[in-house]
Symmetry: C2
């Protein structure tokens, strides 16, 4: 049985191991069907810097679209993409985490433009092809090699202890599904994420014209209930958008909430940052979150590069 070998001995590792032991044996043991764990994806299970993987994919889609429709190059976000000024995109996401969704709405409108009418199977094929060939923009390795190995080890450790693990991400659900089984051991039906409205017609399910919901902040516990029908025992996140999910779990009769802190300045490939996590970090102590220090608690970050 995996024993969290990539987690350095210390308070964090002991907290995890003790909690798992307490809910799997002894007086506080809970039945296996109640052992639910939920994990954010971007910044928790893999790197989200310099931008979320989904943005990389979307930029490729928008570049192609702007080539077909040159008039689009006059407006955001196509302008940013065509001019190679990707800072506009990152700033839109940062503004969201600071409470201003105006540019995020522009982003979502452009996202819908590329997806409306597409069948879910065709989108899955397009995403699968992207993952097959895309390289991380600064690390220049496949996306399967920028996952956080200690977190994958934690997923395995929990599964071995009878937990059922779900992803609960602000990222598009159907952008994750093609790779979650292979990268994380998590099947389609346990991927919860942002959802574009779907429509059924003539035998196919296709993306519609509106966003169904953005799975972030208070939406995360809502979607956890919708999909799972239970309050999880364990949650892991890394940003302000995870606070409500972490609090929901921490507030249960048995709850362990992990907040991954990107404090690693040792050059192991990932960037240190607090941006977008300031509030989660500042309130972690009073909230009872267990802060995971990438620098101190993990003995490795990324896997050795695959072939």
């Amino acid at each position: 049985m995996s024993e969290l070998a990539m987690w350095r001995d210390g308070a964090t590792r002991r907290t995890i191991v003790d909690f798992v032991r307490s809910v799997t044996s002894g007086p506080d043991a809970v039945p296996a069907e109640e052992r639910i764990a939920v994990f954010d994806n971007d910044g928790t299970l893999w790197t989200e810097k310099p931008m979320q993987t989904q943005l990389h994919y979307i930029i490729e889609q928008w570049t192609a679209l702007a080539k077909e429709h040159p008039e689009l190059a006059e407006q955001q976000p196509f302008k940013a993409v065509v001019e190679g000024d990707l800072s506009w995109l990152g700033a839109a996401v940062d503004k969201h985490y600071a409470g201003d969704d105006s540019d995020l709405k522009v982003l979502i409108g452009a996202l819908l433009r590329t997806m409306t009418g597409l069948s879910v199977e065709d989108y899955a094929a397009s995403v699968t092809e992207f993952y097959r060939t895309a390289q991380h923009l600064t690390l220049h390795r496949p996306y399967r090699d920028v996952i956080y190995q200690p977190m994958v080890e934690l997923l395995d450790y929990l599964a071995e202890n009878g937990f059922t693990c779900y992803i609960v991400s602000g990222g598009d659900r159907d952008f994750m599904r093609p790779i979650t089984q292979e990268y994380y051991g998590i099947p389609f039906e346990r991927v919860i994420g942002t959802a574009i409205g779907l429509e059924y017609a003539d035998g196919d399910v296709r993306y519609g014209t509106t966003l169904d919901f953005f799975d972030d902040g208070p939406e995360k516990p809502v979607r956890i209930w919708t999909r799972i029908g239970r309050r999880p025992l364990i949650a892991a996140g890394n940003s302000n958008g995870d606070i409500e999910m972490l609090s929901f779990v921490q507030g249960g009769p048995h709850g362990l909430s992990l907040l991954v802190h990107h404090d690693d300045d040792t050059g192991r490939g990932d960037t240190p940052y607090d941006k977008g996590a300031e509030k989660a970090l500042a309130t972690s102590e009073e909230s009872g979150f267990t802060v995971v220090s990438v620098k101190d608690d993990w003995s490795a970050v990324f896997p050795p590069e695959s072939a």
Copy 2:
């Protein structure tokens, strides 16, 4: 291994057995993770006559509410409940299946009135208590004893053949979850149904003020994709509201869609009816649906009464 003992030998039973054999072995075999089956609930897994179980529960809630607020007795649906004229409720559902949602909207508004602000855990407790004591209105036995035994046998048979079975119902998701494991062997996370919008605040998930979606007709394939991310191999339904789900499944590379036809006039406890299923039945042949005759294909309907 269960061999569908309560299904009489004939074309329907052979179609099911042959299909299951073809997707579990031989050249058309599909991996276990793709063996998904979806089942409507009311009228497919248990009786929906004289009214859906959920209506019985809601009537009890509305009766209590109208006692607290006598002015409600002047308006529908409280008027119908207080006056004991339940035909208005049945007619509202019938009108929906005939394409007129006006009274259904009144029903949903009243439903929301009893649920807004309630925590999901409190509602689950209330529903659990209802099932513990309620008796079916005409058969006078607990609801666990008005499930269709041949269909439960089919669920078991599919599970033994590596299928993962889901409920996909027009009924309220959280009204089903408390009993699906015990009655059908289907856990919370595999119950898909109509959803009242949820809100998260102060550590709890509560019902909000709007309906999120009514899981019927074209919404069924949409919600199947949302939750499962695959096109199922097998679907079972019994009404016009199941046509799209059955067509979605029948349209896949391997698909078997079952339409339960309530044609049993032999007095085995359940009522024969075509109402609400006229279109599904009329188009079943061209759609390729396999019609399950309750009268001819099932050797039993309900289980022997439990203690």
